[in-house]
Subunit: 407 residues, 2 copies
C-alpha cells in the first residue's frame, strides 16, 4: 500500500504545530509529510508589532524551521504557494508543484482594507518579518530626515495607527515606549512626536471589559498616545490620513499609517475555488470545508463557528494552535484507516493584551481580570508555553521572554 | 577702556580650537569671547563617514560644547549665522545678532557640485551629524524595502560613492565593512549588493604614493568595492547615476549616491561680500583677508597659500587646527595692544586614510609610508591627540579610539 502524502501549506502557528505533532506521533513509514513555506523560518505573528516598533529584534521573533522540524522525518520545501487545485490534489508553487492525499491549509491572514481609498497603497500592515522590519526602518528614516529639512515637516513625526483593537493597542503600547529612544537618537523633542490611534468603534478594544479598557487607555494616554474614537478612516495618501468623526472631516498630516484594524484569510485560498465568507473558509466541525474530505483548514483562513457564542472564533494564535493539534490527531486517524474524525472544540483560556514591555491587561479563565505586572507576566507565560510546545525547553531559553522583573 | 568683543563663528575644528586656546590663555578681564554655533555640540567631521556607513554611532563623534568650553569664560550662542556685515562689524543670526571687535570665521565647508545635473537634489553629502545619520538610515531603509517588493529593485542595493579622494576612500572602506552586517540584518545575499566608487581622475587617491594607492585599492576590492576610474559623473536622478568613461555613456541604477568629490567654503562668507576663489577666501599670511584687519578666517573657508608647493593648503582638519591655534595667539597679541601679528606656517605631519576599522594607508613625517595595522594605529593616535588638545585626557577616555588591537 502506498504511503499517503500529507502536505502542509504555511509554517505559521497552525502549520508548524501540525507538523510538530505529526513528527512526534506518526512514523516515517505511516506517511510522507511535506511542509511548504515561503521563508526558511517560522515567526511568531503575535510578536511582530514589537519588531515593527523597534522594541524587539526580529531575530527574537523568528525561528529557523530546521531548529524545530526534523528533516529526516518531514520534507521541507521553501517556496511560495501560487494556487491550490483541489480537484487535482495538486498545489502549484512558484518553482514547482506538490501533490497530496491530505492537505492542511494554514496560509495565515492578510490585511482587510474594506475598500478604504489609498489604504492598500499607502498604509503599512504588520504581517511578516519583512513588513515589520520595514515599518521600523520607515519610522526611523522619517525621524532621520526631519532635522535635515529647512522646513520641518510634522507629518514625518506623526505616526497613525488604524484600529484600537488587539493589534492596534499592542502596537501603540510598544511605540509609546520606543518614541523616547527615537527622540534621543535623532535629536527631536518628544513633544513634537504624535502617536494617534484612530478607531471606528466608540471604544478602544471593543468587546473587552470596560474597566480594563479604561486601564489600558489611561496607561497609553499617560505615555502620550492620542485616541480618536468613533472615527471612520476615509482616505490615506502619501502624507495624510482623512477621517470622519461626528460628521466632521478631519485630516492628520502623516507619512506613517499602520493599518491594524482588520484581517482576512489569505486570498490564495479563495482564489483556488474554496467558497469564502469575507476571506475565511467556513469549515465543518472537523475543520474540513464542505465537499473536500482531503483538505483541512486551520488558523486564520478557517471560519469556525463558536456554537455557544453563535459567532465565529476570532483569528487568534491560541485558536490556530488548538486547531493544528486537533487536525494532527484527525490526520493520524485517517492514515490508520479510521473513518470517524473528532469534532473541534476550542478551549478558550483567555486573552492578554500587552501595553508595552511592562504593562498589560487581560482576562483569563473564568472572567478573572488582570492588569499591570500580573498581566504582563501572564502574557510572557503564554508566549513561553507556545515555545515549549513547539521546541521544548531549549527553545524557551533561546527565544522566550524571561525578563519577568523588567520595569 | 572697553573690553574688546571677540566673536567666533562656528564650532568645528577651527572655531573650537580657537575658543579653547583663548579660554586657556586670556583672562575674562582682557576680552569678551563669544562662540556662535548652530548646534549645542561640536563634531569631528573626519569621523562622519563612519557615522554615515553605520560603523560608529554619531554620539561618539560629537561632543557637547559645554563639556569643553567653560561658559563662565566664554559666552555660547546656539544660533544659525545668516550674514556677516563686516563694514558694520555685525553678524546677523536667525534669532538675533552679535557685534564684534574681532571676528573669527570658521564656518566650515559645503559640497562643491560643479554644476553636475541632479547632484544637489539627489546625492547625499557627508557634512554634519544630521546628514551622516540620514545616509545611514537611507541605506538601511532601502535594504529593508528590498525584500518587501515583488519586483526586486537592484538600485536599492547599489551604493555609489562619487569620488575616490580621501573622503570617498575612507567612506567605501567603512561601507565594505558594514555591508555584511546589513545583509544579515535584512536577509539579503552579499553578492546582490554593490559598492561602486566613481572617480574622474585615472587613479584613486590622486596625489598619494602609487604603491599606497595600489595597497588601498587591493584592500577595498578584496572586500567587494568596484572602482570606475577616469569616469566623469554626468547626471544623478532619483534612481540612477550616469557617467562617461572612454567616450562611452554608462548608467548605474541606484537610489543612493554619496558625493565625496569636492568641497568649498561655506557660501555665507562669499555672500557676505568677502572676495572668494572657488568658495574659499584668500587671506594674508596672518590669516586676515585683504582689507579686513579685524577678521580672521580659519579652516575650510580660508584659502592659504603653501608658498613652498606653490598651491593652497588642502582643507583638512590638521590645517584648520593649526590655523586656529595660530589665530588665538595673534588675537592675544591684538588685545595686548601689539601691532605685529605672526605669519602662519603649516607644520604638515602627514596624512593617514583609513580603509575601514582595521586597515589604513598613510604618509607621515618625511615620506615614511605606512599601511595596515601601523597606519590604523597612527590614525587613531592622530584622532586621540586632537581630543587631548581639545579637552584633556578625560575627553580621550570618553570619546577616543582606544581599540588599537581590534581586527
Amino acid at each position: 500500500m502506498k504511503k499517503p502524502n500529507i502536505v502542509i501549506l504555511g509554517a505559521g502557528y497552525g502549520g508548524m504545530m501540525t507538523a510538530v505533532k505529526l513528527q512526534k506521533n506518526i512514523g516515517v513509514n505511516d506517511a510522507n509529510v511535506t511542509l511548504v513555506n515561503k521563508h526558511s523560518y517560522h515567526y511568531q505573528t503575535t510578536w511582530l508589532h514589537e519588531n515593527a516598533a523597534g522594541t524587539l529584534h526580529h531575530d527574537r521573533t523568528r525561528i529557523p524551521i530546521k531548529d524545530v522540524i526534523d528533516t529526516s522525518k518531514i520534507k521541507l520545501i521553501q517556496d511560495t504557494v501560487l494556487e491550490i487545485k483541489p480537484s487535482e490534489k495538486r498545489v502549484l508553487l512558484e518553482d514547482g508543484e506538490v501533490t497530496y492525499d491530505y492537505l492542511v491549509i494554514s496560509l495565515g491572514f492578510e490585511a482587510a482594507t474594506f475598500g478604504i481609498q489609498g489604504l492598500k497603497e499607502h498604509a503599512f500592515t504588520i504581517g511578516s518579518i519583512n513588513s515589520a522590519r520595514l515599518i521600523r526602518q520607515h519610522i526611523e528614516y522619517n525621524f532621520a530626515k526631519y532635522n535635515t529639512e529647512p522646513d520641518k515637516k510634522p507629518e514625518r513625526l506623526n505616526i497613525v495607527v488604524g484600529g484600537a483593537g488587539f493589534t492596534g493597542i499592542e502596537f501603540v503600547g510598544e511605540l509609546a515606549n520606543r518614541v523616547p529612544d527615537l527622540c534621543r537618537e535623532y535629536d527631536i523633542p518628544r513633544d513634537q512626536v504624535r502617536i494617534i490611534c484612530v478607531e471606528a468603534a466608540p471604544t478602544a478594544l471593543p468587546g473587552f471589559d470596560p474597566q480594563l479598557v479604561e486601564y489600558a487607555m489611561n496607561s497609553l494616554e499617560a505615555r502620550g498616545v492620542e485616541f480618536k474614537l468613533s472615527a471612520m478612516i476615509k482616505e490615506v495618501t502619501e502624507n495624510k490620513l482623512v477621517f470622519e468623526k461626528d460628521d466632521q472631516r478631519e485630516e492628520i498630516g502623516t507619512n506613517t499609517v499602520v493599518w491594524a484594524a482588520g484581517v482576512r484569510g489569505n486570498s490564495i485560498v479563495e482564489e483556488s475555488g474554496f467558497e469564502a465568507n469575507r476571506g475565511r473558509i467556513p469549515v465543518r466541525e472537523d475543520l474540513r470545508p464542505e465537499g473536500y474530505d482531503d483538505v483541512f483548514i486551520v488558523g486564520d483562513c478557517a471560519l469556525v463557528m463558536n456554537e455557544e457564542a453563535e459567532r465565529p472564533y476570532p483569528p487568534t494564535a491560541q485558536i490556530a494552535i488548538q486547531e493544528a493539534e486537533h487536525t494532527a490527531g484527525n490526520l493520524e486517524r485517517l492514515i490508520k484507516g479510521e473513518r470517524h474524525l473528532e469534532p473541534f472544540v476550542a478551549d478558550l483560556k483567555g486573552t492578554v493584551a500587552s501595553l508595552g514591555d511592562s504593562d498589560a491587561i487581560g482576562v483569563v479563565f473564568d472572567d478573572k481580570k488582570l492588569y499591570g505586572w500580573s498581566a504582563t507576566a501572564m502574557k510572557k507565560v503564554i508566549d513561553n508555553r507556545y515555545l515549549l510546545k513547539l521546541g521544548g525547553i531549549g527553545l524557551v531559553l533561546k527565544k522566550g521572554k524571561l525578563n519577568f522583573f523588567h520595569f
